[in-house]
C-alpha cells in the first residue's frame, strides 16, 4: 500500500501546529498526550500603536536644566546663552530647512529618485497645478485635507474654467475651508521655530477687519444651489473670525428671518464679537444675553466654547461694576449644565477679577485649589494665556510666592508645559516668576532658582537683570556678583549703560576685610574688566557707552578699595588726559579715596593729578584736598607750581605759615 498515512499522524501534526493557529480572544492549547486535559492559557497580546513603546520610554526622560534645549548643540562653544543668540540659532536652522524646501520645489525635475517603500509624500516636491492639469473633486478634497489654501483656490479656478462639475458637498466643504482661512495661506505647521517665536504682537493687532469682502468665500456661498444652515453657519463663523462684524450680524438677521437654524459654534462666534457690535457695557451684555436666549430657544446645547466666549465678552467690559458678579454667575450656571471649564475660562476670570486699578481679588487661590495636580490638554486657543496671566497676578496683584510656586508646579505636571504657548509668553512667565522671587525670597533661595533656570530655560532680560543687581546691593549679597558678571558677559548685557551703573554702584558697598579677600580680588577683576571692555568699544558703535561721573567715581572707589591701586591710577591718568570721555566728572568721594591712597603710597605725582582734576571739575573740596596733600607729603617745586597754577598761591603759603606758627 503506497503512501498510507497513519491516522494518528494527522492528529499529531495538528497538535504540533496547534500553537500556530490564531483563534478566539484567549488562545489555549489542549494536549492530547496526557490523560487529564491541561489547558495552557496564553493571554492575548496587548495592542499597541507603532509609537507606543517610544512614548513609554520618552516618558522616563525629564528636562535637565544643566544643559540646553535639545534643538541646540550640547557643547560649551555651540550652546547659545543670550536671548539674541538663542533666537538666531533656532531661526537660522529653520531657515536652512526652508531654503532646502525652496530648492526642492524650484528644481522639482531633479528629485525623481524614489527609493522609499512605502512612499513618503512629504519628501517630494509639491505638485503645482496649471491650466492643463487633470483636476477633479477629489484633488480639491485632498488639498483641503492638507490645508493648502492657495493651491485649493487655484484648483477651484481651474475647475471653473474647465467646467468640471463640483457637487454641493464639496462646495460646502470648500466654503468652510476658505471661511476658516480667509482665502490666505496659514504658516506651515512644519515651521515650528517661526511659530514659537511669532510674538504676541500679532495677537495684539488682530482686532481689525481683515475679512475679504466679496471674496471667493462669498462667491462660493452664492454659488451653492441652496443656502441652508451649514452654509450660513460657515459664512457667519468666517466673518466673525476676521472681524467683519456688521455683515456677520446682517447674515444672522437673515437667518432669523428665514428661520434657518444655526449650530453652537456659530452662536459662540457671535457672542465672542458682541463687544464690537455695541457701545456701552450694559448694551453689550444685553446683546450677549439676547444671543444666549436665542440659542436656548432654538434648542441648541451650549458647550465649552459658549462658556469661553461669554467670559471673553465679559472680559471686554471688565470695567463695569456688575461684570465680576456676572462672571461668577456664568461659571456657576455652566457648571450646573455639566460643562467643565478649561484654562481659557480661568484666564478670563483672572482678567475680569484681578484688575490693575481695582480691589485685590483672591480668586486665583480658589482656581488653584480647583485645578491643582490636574493634567490639561488644549481645548481652546486661549488656554495658553492662563499661565502667563496667573504668574502676572501672583507677582503684581497678590505678591505671593507660595501661589506662584503652586502655579509653577501645575505647569510642570504631566504635559501641561505644552500650554505655555510661545517663546514670548514663556519669557514673560519666567520674568514674572523671577522678579517675584527676587523681591520676596531671601537671596540664597533666589539664587537657587537662578541657578536652576538660567541660562538654559530662561535668560533674564536687561530690565530683570537690573532688578537683580539692585536686590543684591540692597541685601549686600555681593558674593554672587562675580557669577552675575560672567553671566552678563555671556548674555551680552555689557553694552548697556544702566546695567554697568548698577554693577558699579553695587560694588561700592563692599567693605574689604580679611575673610573676604577672594571676593575682593574678584570684584577688582570685575571692575578692571568693565573698564577695559568699555574702552575697547569702537568709537563709531551705535550704542557706545559714555562714562558718567558717578560711574567713574564708583569704578575708582572699587579699584582703590579692593587693592588695585595702580590700576586706579591708570584710570585716573586716562581721565585726566582725556576728560571728554567722561560726561560730567568723577565724584568727590572717589577722588578723596584715591588721594588718601596716593598719600598712603607716598606718590605725590598722583596726588597732584587728583587735586588738579578736582579743581578742573569744580569741586569745592578741592582746596581742602590740596591742603591735606600738602600737609601729608612733601611736595617738590614742580608739584607746588602745578597746584599754585590751578588754585592760587594762598594754599601752600597758608600751610607754610601754619607750620611756622605751630613750630
Amino acid at each position: 500500500m503506497a503512501g498510507a498515512i497513519p491516522r494518528c499522524s494527522v492528529r499529531h501534526l495538528q497538535r504540533l501546529f496547534g500553537s500556530c493557529s490564531i483563534s478566539a480572544p484567549v488562545r489555549s492549547v489542549r494536549t492530547s498526550s496526557c490523560n487529564r486535559a491541561e489547558e495552557i492559557v496564553i493571554p492575548n497580546r496587548i495592542p499597541r500603536s507603532s509609537t507606543d513603546i517610544l512614548e513609554a520610554l520618552a516618558s522616563t526622560v525629564g528636562r535637565d536644566s544643566s544643559g540646553p534645549h535639545y534643538k541646540y548643540s550640547d557643547d560649551p562653544y555651540l550652546t547659545p546663552a543670550s536671548n539674541v543668540a538663542k533666537r538666531s540659532f533656532s531661526l537660522s536652522k529653520e531657515s536652512g530647512r526652508k531654503a532646502a524646501r525652496w530648492i526642492r520645489d524650484k528644481h522639482s525635475d531633479l528629485f525623481t529618485h524614489r527609493p522609499e517603500d512605502p512612499f513618503i509624500e512629504a519628501f517630494y516636491p509639491k505638485i503645482s497645478f496649471t491650466d492643463e492639469s487633470d483636476v477633479s473633486e477629489d484633488t480639491l478634497r485632498e488639498l483641503m485635507q492638507k490645508c493648502m489654501v492657495s493651491d485649493a483656490i487655484q484648483v477651484y479656478q481651474i475647475c471653473k474654467t474647465k467646467g468640471v462639475e463640483l457637487s454641493d458637498s464639496v462646495r460646502q466643504e470648500l466654503l468652510e475651508f476658505l471661511g476658516y482661512y480667509n482665502c490666505e495661506d496659514a504658516l506651515d505647521e512644519d515651521w515650528v521655530e517661526e511659530r514659537w517665536y511669532r510674538q504676541g504682537i500679532m495677537s495684539r493687532d488682530r482686532i481689525r477687519n481683515t475679512w475679504k469682502d466679496h471674496g471667493l468665500a462669498e462667491e462660493l456661498f452664492k454659488s451653492l444651489s441652496h443656502q441652508g444652515s451649514p452654509a450660513y453657519c460657515a459664512l457667519i463663523r468666517g466673518m466673525t473670525r476676521y472681524y467683519q462684524v456688521d455683515r456677520a450680524w446682517q447674515m444672522y438677521q437673515e437667518t432669523l428671518e428665514k428661520g434657518i437654524p444655526l449650530d453652537t459654534e456659530t452662536y459662540n462666534s457671535l457672542i465672542r464679537v458682541a463687544s464690537l457690535m455695541r457701545e456701552g457695557s450694559d448694551l453689550r451684555w444685553k446683546l450677549v444675553k439676547e444671543i444666549l436666549t436665542a440659542m436656548s430657544e432654538a434648542g441648541v446645547r451650549p458647550n465649552l466654547g459658549t462658556l469661553n466666549s461669554t467670559l471673553e465678552s465679559l472680559s471686554q467690559i471688565a470695567s463695569w461694576r456688575q461684570t465680576k458678579n456676572l462672571s461668577l454667575q456664568v461659571m456657576a450656571e455652566f457648571n450646573r449644565l455639566g460643562i467643565q471649564a478649561s484654562l481659557a475660562s480661568y484666564y478670563f476670570l483672572l482678567i475680569i477679577h484681578c484688575r490693575e486699578r481695582g480691589p485685590i481679588s483672591h480668586i486665583l487661590i480658589d482656581i488653584m485649589n480647583h485645578i491643582a495636580d490636574k493634567e490639561f490638554s488644549i481645548q481652546d486657543p486661549k488656554d495658553t494665556f492662563f499661565f502667563v496671566t496667573a504668574m502676572d497676578v501672583c507677582r503684581n496683584h497678590l505678591h505671593s510666592k507660595e501661589l506662584a510656586k503652586r502655579v509653577d508646579d501645575l505647569l510642570h505636571t504631566g504635559n501641561n508645559y505644552m500650554l505655555i504657548g510661545d517663546s514670548y509668553k514663556e519669557s514673560i512667565y519666567y520674568r514674572h516668576y523671577f522678579a517675584l522671587s527676587c523681591s520676596t525670597d531671601t537671596v540664597d533661595q533666589f539664587m537657587e532658582l537662578y541657578n536652576e533656570l538660567v541660562p538654559h530655560i530662561y535668560t533674564p532680560e536687561p530690565g530683570v537683570m537690573e532688578e537683580l543687581l539692585k536686590a543684591l546691593k540692597v541685601h549686600e549679597a555681593l558674593e554672587y556678583l562675580p557669577q552675575l558678571w560672567s553671566d552678563m558677559i555671556v548674555f551680552d548685557h555689557t553694552s548697556r549703560e544702566k546695567l554697568l551703573m548698577s554693577v558699579l554702584s553695587a560694588m561700592t558697598c563692599h567693605q574689604p576685610s580679611e575673610d573676604n579677600t577672594k571676593l575682593t580680588e574678584q570684584l577688582a577683576t570685575i571692575a578692571w574688566d568693565l573698564w577695559t571692555r568699555v574702552q575697547r568699544m569702537e568709537e563709531d558703535r551705535r550704542n557706545k557707552i559714555t562714562w558718567s561721573g558717578p560711574m567713574i567715581g564708583d569704578l575708582l572707589t572699587t579699584l582703590v578699595r579692593c587693592g588695585e591701586y595702580s590700576k586706579g591710577v591708570e584710570v585716573m591718568q586716562k581721565i585726566s588726559a582725556d576728560p571728554h570721555i567722561v560726561l560730567g566728572s568723577a565724584t568727590v568721594d572717589s577722588l578723596q579715596t584715591l588721594l588718601d591712597a596716593a598719600i598712603g603710597n607716598d606718590e605725590a605725582d598722583t596726588g597732584v593729578m587728583v587735586v588738579v582734576y578736582a579743581v578742573d571739575a569744580g569741586h569745592q573740596e578741592a582746596a581742602d584736598m590740596a591742603k591735606k596733600l600738602g600737609s601729608s607729603l612733601t611736595l617738590n617745586a614742580e608739584h607746588r607750581a602745578k597746584l599754585t597754577s590751578v588754585l592760587g598761591i594762598d594754599i601752600i603759603a597758608d600751610l607754610k605759615e601754619k607750620e611756622i606758627s605751630e613750630s
Partner: protein
C-alpha cells in the same frame, strides 16, 4: 659673478616692487579691519627719502609681509556643562539616548590611551579614542529599571503551565523564528526579514525506527545529532508568511513520507544500512565457526559483549576505547583473559 649679481638684484628689485605694491594695497583697504602694517615700510620710505642718490642694495630673501588680519571678536562661551551638575542629579535626564562621548557633559575624569613617556594616559578632552568607542552611558542601572517599569504595561504574564523547558517542549514542541529589521533610511524593507526558521526535536515526533531512519535520510544535515534538533530554514518566498506556511508544509510532508513505506524499500541492502547490525553479519558467522571449533557453546554474556564491541567498532569508529573493548571481548571468547 656679474650675471649672478644682476640676476639677484633683478630678483630683489622685483620682490621689492611687488611687496611695495602689496603694501599699497594694504593701505588702500578699508580701515574697518585692523591693519598690522609692517614697520619696514616706514623704515624703507625714510631710507628712500634720505638716500636719494644711493639706493641700498638688498640681497637675499625678504620676509613675507603679513596680510591684513581681521581682529577676531571673542565670543564669550559658557563654562562646561559638568560644572553645573550636582552629584545627586538624575543622569538619565542628562544622557537619555546613545550618544558619542562628550567631555564637557560627562563629569567623570576618565582617561584612555597609551601614555606618553613619563606621563599619565591622555585625559578626556579631545580624546578620539573615547569618542570612537561605543559607550553605554545611556544605560545605567537606574535608567534600565525605570525603562523596564515603563514597558511593563505592554507585557502579559508568562502562561501558567509553562514553567520549565520540559513543559514548554511538551506543549509547544515546534519553534518558529523570524527576524525583522529596522533601518534609519528611506525604505523600511529588508529582504532578510522573509527568512523563517522552524526547529523541532525529533523526540517530539512519533517516529518508529524505520520512519526515523527515512526522515534522517531525507533531511540530511538539517538534523543535528548532538541536540536531536531538526532545523528547516525557508527563504524561497518573498514574504515571511509564505515562508512560514512553506515550513509547515515541509514538516508535514517529511513526516508523512517518513511514515510511508515504499514498495521498493525492501530492496535495501546490507551496505545501505545506516548502522552496522551484528546479527546476520560475517562476524556472527565467524563466531559460530569458532564456537563450533571450540566444541562448547560460547556463554551468552561473552557473545553479547563481543557483539557490542564489534558493533561499536563499526559504528563509532576505531579509537583506544573501542579497540580495547574489542580486545577484551575477543580474549574472553578465545578463553585467554
Amino acid at each position: 659673478m656679474i650675471p649672478v649679481v644682476e640676476a639677484a638684484s633683478k630678483m630683489s628689485l622685483k620682490c621689492r616692487l611687488f611687496s611695495e605694491f602689496a603694501r599699497q594695497q594694504l593701505f588702500r583697504s578699508s580701515p574697518a579691519c585692523g591693519l598690522h602694517i609692517s614697520a619696514t615700510y616706514y623704515a624703507e620710505s625714510k631710507a628712500v627719502a634720505e638716500d636719494e642718490e644711493f639706493r641700498t642694495l638688498e640681497l637675499g630673501g625678504r620676509k613675507i609681509q603679513r596680510r591684513a588680519q581681521r581682529i577676531q571678536r571673542e565670543m564669550p562661551t559658557l563654562p562646561p556643562r559638568y560644572k553645573r551638575q550636582a552629584t545627586d542629579q538624575d543622569w538619565g535626564n542628562v544622557w537619555p539616548a546613545p550618544r558619542s562621548f562628550h567631555p564637557a557633559t560627562v563629569p567623570l575624569a576618565v582617561r584612555q590611551g597609551y601614555p606618553a613617556k613619563g606621563q599619565a594616559p591622555p585625559d578626556k578632552w579631545g580624546n578620539a579614542e573615547l569618542m570612537k568607542i561605543p559607550n553605554f552611558l545611556h544605560l545605567t542601572p537606574p535608567v534600565i529599571e525605570r525603562q523596564c517599569e515603563a514597558l511593563k504595561k505592554f507585557c502579559t504574564p508568562w502562561p501558567a503551565g509553562l514553567e520549565n523547558t520540559e513543559k514548554q517542549e511538551k506543549h509547544f514542541p515546534v519553534t518558529m523564528t523570524k527576524s525583522s529589521y529596522l533601518h534609519s533610511s528611506p525604505s523600511i524593507r529588508d529582504p532578510k526579514s522573509r527568512i523563517v526558521t522552524l526547529k523541532v526535536h525529533l523526540r517530539s515526533l512519533n517516529l518508529d525506527t524505520h520512519a526515523r531512519d527515512k526522515l534522517l535520510r531525507l533531511v540530511g544535515d538539517r538534523y543535528d545529532p548532538a541536540t536531536d534538533c531538526l532545523t528547516l530554514v525557508a527563504d524561497r518566498c518573498p514574504l515571511s508568511q509564505q515562508n512560514r506556511d512553506y515550513c509547515h508544509y515541509l514538516l508535514t510532508v517529511l513526516y508523512n513520507e517518513a511514515l510511508k513505506t515504499e514498495p521498493w524499500e525492501h530492496e535495501k541492502e546490507v551496505t545501505d544500512n545506516e548502522r552496522y547490525v551484528w546479527q546476520g553479519s560475517p562476524s556472527e558467522a565467524a563466531l559460530k565457526v569458532i564456537a563450533a571449533a571450540k566444541g562448547e557453546p560460547v556463554p551468552e554474556a561473552d557473545v553479547d559483549k563481543y557483539r557490542d564491541a564489534v558493533a561499536e567498532l563499526h559504528n563509532e569508529g576505531e579509537d583506544e576505547t573501542t579497540l580495547a573493548k574489542y580486545r577484551e571481548a575477543v580474549m574472553k571468547i578465545a578463553g585467554i583473559a
